[in-house]
């Protein structure tokens, strides 16, 4: 079967860019990665303490590492906070109890908040959470992936980091036969679906009850 030629594929180039970005970014120092993130706007559902735990949780699910940015840069936790105030409100209590339990466990076992622990210690606690509270772990994972890969309209996938991570070439409203060929070499469009005028929702928030319950 035909495979990639000798040149760098777009994905290889993205990967290369990720390495460069990581050296300049938070991965250079694990200690730095573990500090509380700077908040760009007020929280909508979570308390500050819960948000710190969630931010660190998401950052271990999709880590910022040598391959490039992760959940922290994509602002997956911001997506979740916003969604918990709206479409995912029914999960609000699960987050409160789950995040509190995780932070309590961190303090009991290691004498420090979860967010301030070293990544490998956080990983061990998350592995424990995955085994002992599988429903809560799966909930956070599901929502983190939504925050990574949903349309940036919802507050995650910042700067299209999630879509670039998987090589998704972006929303196009019309696709040619060449763009569906096996080796199309597509440039990412880096547009939200709601950037297209016919879907523009600038003046309306997502409808109440939009989770369909």
């Amino acid at each position: 079967m035909k495979d990639k030629g000798g040149g760098l594929s777009r994905r290889d180039m993205l990967r290369g860019a990720g390495v460069a970005g990581a050296v300049a970014g938070s991965l250079a120092s694990p200690a730095q990665a573990a500090t509380a993130p700077e908040r760009r706007e007020a929280l909508e559902a979570l308390t500050a303490a819960e948000a710190d735990v969630l931010e660190a949780f998401c950052a271990r699910l999709v880590p910022t590492d040598a391959s490039g940015p992760g959940a922290r840069e994509a602002r997956a936790a911001h997506y979740i906070d916003r969604a918990l105030a709206g479409a995912l409100a029914s999960s609000r209590e699960a987050y409160r109890s789950g995040l509190t339990a995780l932070d309590d466990r961190a303090r009991a076992a290691h004498g420090a908040p979860f967010a301030e622990l070293a990544p490998e210690v956080q990983d061990a606690l998350l592995t424990e959470t995955e085994a002992k509270a599988p429903a809560f772990f799966a909930l956070v994972r599901e929502h983190t992936l939504q925050g990574m890969f949903s349309d940036p309209y919802y507050g995650g996938n910042a700067d299209f980091i999630g879509w670039d991570l998987i090589g998704y070439p972006g929303v196009r409203l019309a696709v040619t036969v060449d763009q569906q060929a096996l080796d199309p070499h597509l440039k990412p469009t880096h547009q939200s679906g709601y950037d297209f005028p016919m879907f523009n929702r600038a003046k309306r928030a997502p409808k109440p009850g939009s989770d369909g319950r």
């Binding site: 079967m1 391959s67 349309d151 998987i166 989770d211």
Partner: protein, 568 residues
């Protein structure tokens, strides 16, 4: 206080895939039709390219009636209930789920109409699975062919014929039954990936073909051809290229001025007189209760709601529910055997980021009775379907084929490497009715109006499980021929609420075992018709919509032709 409205000729309950078709022949015949629809009108601006809204938050755009009526499920009487689904598989809107469905628009295989007699003739009666209540349909494919043809042209289907009046064409599906003419539009185009799979199928002796789709491949009746952008999997088409009834048969019926569409109308009961004749329906709209008298009523909701309305409509003449004096309403139920997928991993990117599930390649060599079952321990088979469609959130949830756990740097590296290298095959398989698979009313769970929701008691039996394993082997061979380096088998799943279901008001000549007659009218109430999957007695191994649309056209045409005898 119930407001009694002016009598009309026909009331259609639900203007979706089936009801939206049934309206047209009635209006063209000069009958006055009122279409009661629980949802509202939607349009292109509602169909944003938004995976989160469409695929993860259960289609938010219209009335939320169905989501309050999700059926409960248990595999068998006495077994624990399955966790209740958060969302109903169907939606409420003018056009119904034909707005957001995949649009695969197949005719059934000739065998699907004659499972009992054809199996008995070829292999012996002992090959009908034990406990199955399957019957031959009251007619064969040839009876339905003119109606398939009508719907393909009036709704707008793209495809490639494989059998025109017995003349086979290997560019289409050579296993299909004879059709009178070519599709009105050419098939959806291939992609690099589907062409790769087409070539691989031929290397192992299969007969690949592009499947039929209710999506305009070229401009059709004032609508544009598809733009292939691929956001119509559980969403509508932003340029109206998808041939939902909302943009095809319903506007045509409205143009006759004989269809009145009432949106936001929730039908709660079908009313009958003392003799058992149907007199009309009661519905709720904006907090008011209305009675709409009619000469005939056509129930055109999804299977679950059609059955529920019959069971909820109790009267002196029908103490156990309308048209249920033989206890057949809810019987012969099937959730389509469409789980047990296979996912493959290729050693290269396959660029399936664009396109839609109907843009694919099918293989019918192992479907229905297209192969010899003499040495096998099941009857029926499956359609194999691979297609070009990929969404980002779903990609993030991809399997790692057991190579890494589901998070962390190793997982991230796997996803970055393989995001565009996987493909899932869709295997639709023969499903048969069994004596203990049924729908009734849940004794506990109610909707917000206090009406019982439907309860499914059903499980796949040996025949379905054996087909599933067989079909997985067959599609794995196809994937391997195309160079797949890993494959993973999915699970069969349960017979809980699904997008393809059948039975509950089965069509047949025998009133002891069927709710509706060969024309779709209740044996026990001659001016009440049921359209939709509820009347189908076998599933076939392909999507049901075109078949139930052809049946809906036929039932409506019969009503128009026999108006006086049906309604006097």
């Amino acid at each position: 206080m119930t407001v009694t409205l002016k009598k009309t000729d026909v009331v259609i309950v639900g203007l979706g895939a089936a009801g939206g078709v049934a309206a047209l022949p009635l209006c063209r015949a000069g009958l006055e039709v009122i279409g009661l629809e629980a949802g509202g009108w939607l349009g292109p601006a509602d169909y944003a390219p938004d995976e989160l809204a469409n695929n993860w938050r259960g289609w938010p755009f219209s009335a939320q009636k169905a989501n309050h009526e999700v059926p409960t499920h248990r595999p068998s009487a006495g077994a624990p209930y399955s966790p209740r689904m958060a969302y109903h598989p169907m939606m409420n809107a003018v056009g119904g789920s034909s707005i957001h469905y995949w649009g695969q628009s197949w005719r059934l295989n000739p065998w699907d109409f004659k499972v009992v007699s054809a199996t008995t003739a070829r292999y012996g009666a002992h090959r009908i699975p034990k406990g199955s209540t399957v019957e031959d349909w009251p007619f064969g494919l040839e009876e339905l062919e003119p109606y398939y043809d009508k719907v393909e042209y009036e709704v707008g289907i793209s495809g490639k014929a494989g059998n025109i009046a017995g003349k086979l064409d290997s560019a289409g599906n050579v296993f299909e039954g004879p059709r009178s003419r070519e599709y009105p539009m050419p098939p959806l185009r291939g992609t690099g990936y589907t062409e790769m799979m087409t070539a691989a199928a031929k290397t192992i002796g299969l007969h690949p073909f592009p499947g039929p789709a209710a999506i305009a491949s070229v401009p059709y009746e004032g609508r544009p051809g598809t733009a292939y952008h691929g956001w119509c999997d559980r969403a509508g088409c932003h340029i109206n290229a998808k041939s939902s009834t909302a943009v095809s048969t319903i506007p045509k019926a409205l143009a006759t001025k004989r269809l009145q569409v009432v949106t936001g109308a929730r039908v709660t009961a079908v009313e009958v007189d003392r003799s058992g004749r149907v007199t009309g329906v009661t519905y709720l709209k904006d907090g008011e209760v209305y009675f709409q008298p009619a000469g005939a009523v056509i129930l055109a909701s999804y299977v679950y709601e059609n059955v529920r309305l019959l069971l909820l409509s109790k009267s002196k003449a029908f103490p156990n529910g309308l048209a249920n004096n033989q206890g057949q309403v809810g019987r012969h139920y099937m959730s389509h055997n469409q789980g047990a997928h296979v996912t493959a991993l290729f050693p290269r990117d396959i660029n399936t980021w664009y396109g839609m599930p109907a843009q694919g390649v099918g293989v019918d060599n192992w479907a229905d009775d297209n192969f010899d079952h003499s040495g096998l321990d099941f009857i029926g088979g499956g359609n194999m379907w691979v297609y070009s469609s990929r969404r980002p959130i779903l990609t993030g949830n991809m399997t790692t084929f057991g190579k890494t756990k589901g998070w962390g740097s190793e997982w991230k590296a796997f996803v970055m490497q393989n995001a565009d290298r996987t493909n899932g095959a869709y295997l639709q398989k023969t499903t048969l009715p069994y004596e203990d698979n049924r729908i009734d009313l849940d004794p506990v769970v109610k909707d917000p109006l206090g009406l019982a929701v439907p309860r499914i008691t059903a499980d796949f039996k040996d025949n379905e499980k054996k087909i599933a394993a067989f079909m997985q082997d067959k599609v794995i061979a196809w994937y391997r021929a195309a160079g797949a380096i890993e494959v993973e088998r999915g699970t069969l799943g349960t017979m809980g609420p699904t997008t393809h279901c059948y039975g509950g008001a089965r069509m047949g000549d025998d009133p002891q075992t069927n709710v509706v007659d060969r024309w779709g009218f209740a044996h026990e109430a001659p001016n009440l018709a049921v359209v939709g999957g509820a009347v189908m007695g076998t599933s076939g191994s392909r999507n049901p919509t075109l078949t139930l649309q052809a049946l809906a056209w036929r039932t409506a045409q019969h009503l128009a032709d026999k108006w006086s005898s049906r309604t006097s």
